[in-house]
Point group: D2
Chain length 363, copies 4
């Protein structure tokens, strides 16, 4: 179960950085969803290494194969199985890591927990694991789009100490993709790209913040108590490599407001109900209220840097590490599509759960 | 399942604010754990309303009964069932809420999702639901303590815009409990109490931040990929009423550091391995690394305020709401023990999972 | 999780034979279901000890309390919590069992697994655990009845070597309840009652077989592969105390037929499709086909007998056991309502799962 | 989740009969297990079509690839991913099934549940799905063997109305594999082979019964209440295609015994405890007692027969079906290894669960 996510729309990812392939199985997909490779490849290309001059130069085509679950262009209700071959595996760059633990990586904890590890490219802890998430997320996004025009948009708002102005509008995909750094504020994006390049030239790395919004989400998704929508979103985001924080709506800043300034007044809206403000971030009592869902995720700087670092080896002896290998000086731009994917997975799963409990039987 | 938490050490809470009782069932508890009511009552008393002059005056003894699962003072491995009677229920104070949705409460979303709701005191969305969590958390804390001296300590670091200095030491329970606001920095605590009282006198409310640490946590808890320790902690925290954010280790501030400044160098420590700094917050690759686990949780100001607010009624018509009833002007001090409880539940569950996968069979 | 059943409509039972109470929590119940104590008590009375002169004389009123989840007569979608107090506990009758393992009971395996046990009346292994199942089953039966007139009827077809003729019709509840042995074939029922009384007079016990049918079950419940409807029914039945076998449709006898004689030809039926015969037992490929679901469950004779038996004690020394205490010379008549309950729980859960996957989104 | 089995050692199978491949993912496998393709291929060969003259002539090499989870010959604790390519797909033989429902197959229920289906070779309902189970079962068998010499042996005891004498000894693998029908009683096996060939020559099919035993199973596996060992075994067996019944120990025949004849007296055995007889089938109170686990599974005759049959088409119109295609006149001999696989999966999962609850913490 540690490699599965979701309760009804459940995905299981598998594969290592330097194995023959990575993949994902989706169990519980609704039947009759039109699905082709083209539905998946666009998002994979947004995640792909080597897509721009601010990402790792590892060359991977990341072409997806559909192995099962689709018949004559439609899902059948059976498990969907997807596979992406790994092609550009230069394991020798990792020989040093067989014996030495890279700081702030998973090397030591994997070794301690499992007694040995696939050290090549981080093995299972590699970001290549997220390929499966992006594929499954693309399926989920298609469901959401067809089901009711639900749109999910993630974008970068901060790189290192460069922060974009608050976005009052829901950015278009084109605005996000206009820059390789995926910040829709053009002027800031230019600075961010330069900052990332500078970090790389120093053999260093930088982190940042991604904001994500979802609109047209129906009222009623999420459960009271443990499986609150924001709780499952938080779990989804903190399950991503390199994440250090999550906040929804007013977030940490909301802790500094008084209730009279924080509460979202209800107002009539069309035939329904809306809120005058959205400090709740689209979720109240764990359940979506129809407003935009808005949250932010903090990413630490990439742990792999090309500077000499202090560490210890398998025998616990102090040593120095001189990392080689190809890496992203900043994972945040490529993580945008992964944040969207995880958001879509949470929403589809909760939509199905909500339907099961409240719509199966009518009294 | 929405009311259950944990995969092996699994709890299920039940009960509403103005029902006859609230309770919790623990399934999967290890056998032969010594357990008495006294083990549970101390933490319940830290959660209890009316415990100080900065909490709600609702009077509840919150005395717990053990209904099942203990024989001759030891757990049997069968489900533990606990019950706390509700005594001080003044439902009439909530008559207005039957027809009007309280801003930033769960009233509207529950109504929309389920088609009707128990409006009295928020029904299931009441903080009384957390009684079950505190009971289960006390069981988990006892397990952790007996198993290896694991200690969990949560405390308040911020109320409204008042922030305590960074705590370099692990505070003692006595330091935390020295003030009703549960901030171990005495001078700040005094100010915080005053701020909360001031908010109440204005019919207003304030939020804040809780920091939580766990020490003596063994290396190896948590899973790669989805069930990372920090992901399950994030879910646990965002499942608490009124929470808006979670961050671990360096958190959101870490996004502003470069990799060279953020990485935690490994160093020999005794017979094992430690890190020179702890920006990872005790978790690397989703797995505990033996350092202190450190995270922070943001709480919004209490949604119930005694000022007139704009809202709509069941028919969607704009109206004003004049809340009555007893409430906490700030939930943060009482939430300290709940944060500890959820942390303990996550740790025990992951400890059992880690043991199952890596210790059942040896090759 | 060992004490939970169901994936969406999930129940958790708790309590021991000689504890203060037994109970059940239902998580995932649809909202707005009308529910009162009266809906539950009828089935509890069919399970109750002392209901006739062929059951144990233990006196228990088995009056159920609804602790949570119902507001103004309707379920709210929150967990339902039910409790039944134990009243007639004569623990001293079990003093011998503290030291000696009763043959074919759970005494030894509980002791070995957990390191100690509540020996009084079998503790958690007591049939009193099934009270929670019957309560939850009554809720599930009400849902099924309101949802589409689904009817479930279990009845006794065999006691010891006395076998009722094949029932071609779906028996009415009155026919089943006409005899305390719950065999709707009156002449056989009389013999069965006599056989049970004879066994009791000998200090012995007898087993038997229960057949269960469900009609008006919609097409499409059950999943391919692991969660086939018959697989979950089999699990449900083998989870009952004293069961030794399960067969659906043609069952073990079907293994002796050729395919040409076993296959159920499809035939037009009204606007839909039916089968000319029903050797499939209402399930094909793991999924209900709209025909009657028909299965049988084998129960062993009650393990508690009032004859001297060979056994060993806690120290592993051979000894004799002279059981006292009150017991059923045959558990089968009281198990009828429990079989119905478990069937209802499986059907409701699968109905909700089927709805979630195939009805939430339409493409 | 419908395509997943197990709670800690969890497998997910995927793939259709005429898709490009079938496969399985194992999540939760213990680390450091030595594992190569050779460990898996032997069991796959026992399941393979075309292995003898009493099976389907479909030609499939069924060579397994390990895609993930093994590093330098040892499992890493990461998900294991396995794939087997489908090679001999003659879909045209199934053209008639696109429009007509084969009696006693899954065609109609899949169509009704999902709104369309992959009709080629039964799609997901094909027995090719069991390839994934056999692979995972081989991994589980290796774990059990290394862990404590646990042996699982299934064999055929009945084909049509031919029944082998009761086996008092645990048959060797060689005895089982001596005949293509996998009945270890040589004289009966000869008759069974002839009976299967006769059925095929008539365009007909036959069913049968498999018995399965497991020895050296430690005391304590299985849970009280819902996840009893026999309940999970029953579910595992009824999840296999073509199964109609399950019985453990005395089974249905046990219903005809009196308690005094049925109870298994405890006796001292070496330093421990055994039972003089084994009508319990190795499980008491849902938990293994150290005796041999013994159960039987009933299989119906293969639904595909080469005789003309009455059925209806997609429009509900009555028609005749003249099946073509390659099929097994009896699935029972090839199912032997699948029964072993599912048994192994249940035992490994429960072993890990038992360890988690009772061995993680010691008080």
């Amino acid at each position: 179960m540690p490699n599965s996510f979701g309760k009804i729309f459940q995905i299981t990812t598998w594969g290592e950085s330097h194995g023959s392939a990575v993949g994902v199985v989706i169990d519980g997909c609704p039947p009759r969803l039109p699905l082709t490779v083209a539905d998946l490849q666009a998002d994979l290309d947004r995640r792909r290494p080597g897509q721009s001059d601010i990402t790792t130069p590892r060359k991977e085509a990341d072409k997806v194969e559909i192995l099962a679950g689709v018949f004559e262009g439609l899902t059948t209700g059976a498990p969907l199985s997807f596979l992406v071959h790994n092609s550009d595996q230069r394991s020798e760059a990792y020989d040093e890591m067989r014996e030495k633990f890279r700081p702030s990586h998973a090397d030591y904890t994997y070794q301690a927990k499992y007694g040995h590890r696939d050290h090549r490219g981080g093995g299972r802890s590699s970001a290549r694991e997220t390929i499966g998430r992006v594929i499954a997320g693309a399926v989920a996004k298609k469901i959401l789009s067809l089901a009711g025009g639900v749109e999910i948009r993630a974008y970068v708002t901060q790189i290192h100490d460069l922060t974009a102005p608050v976005m009052s509008n829901f950015p278009s995909l084109a605005e996000v993709e206009a820059s390789p750094v995926r910040c829709p504020h053009a002027a800031t994006a230019v600075q961010m790209v330069a900052r990332i390049k500078q970090a790389r030239s120093e053999g260093d790395s930088v982190g940042g913040i991604i904001e994500c919004r979802a609109r047209q989400v129906p009222v009623g998704l999420g459960e009271p108590v443990f499986d609150r929508l924001e709780a499952d979103l938080a779990k989804a985001m903190l399950s991503l490599p390199a994440t250090k924080g999550f906040e929804i709506g007013s977030g940490f800043a909301g802790a500094q407001l008084k209730g009279s300034a924080h509460n979202d007044a209800f107002v009539p809206r069309g035939a329904g109900i809306g809120t005058a403000t959205n400090r709740s971030g689209g979720v109240q009592g764990g359940i979506s209220n129809g407003e935009e869902i808005v949250f932010r995720v903090a990413f630490k700087p990439t742990a792999t840097i090309l500077q000499s670092q202090k560490t210890v080896d398998l025998q616990g002896v102090a040593t120095d590490l001189h990392a080689r290998g190809r890496h992203d000086p900043c994972v945040v731009p490529r993580a945008v599509v992964i944040v969207e994917a995880m958001t879509a997975l949470v929403l589809v799963d909760h939509w199905m759960r909500q339907h099961a409990q409240t719509q199966t039987f009518k009294f």
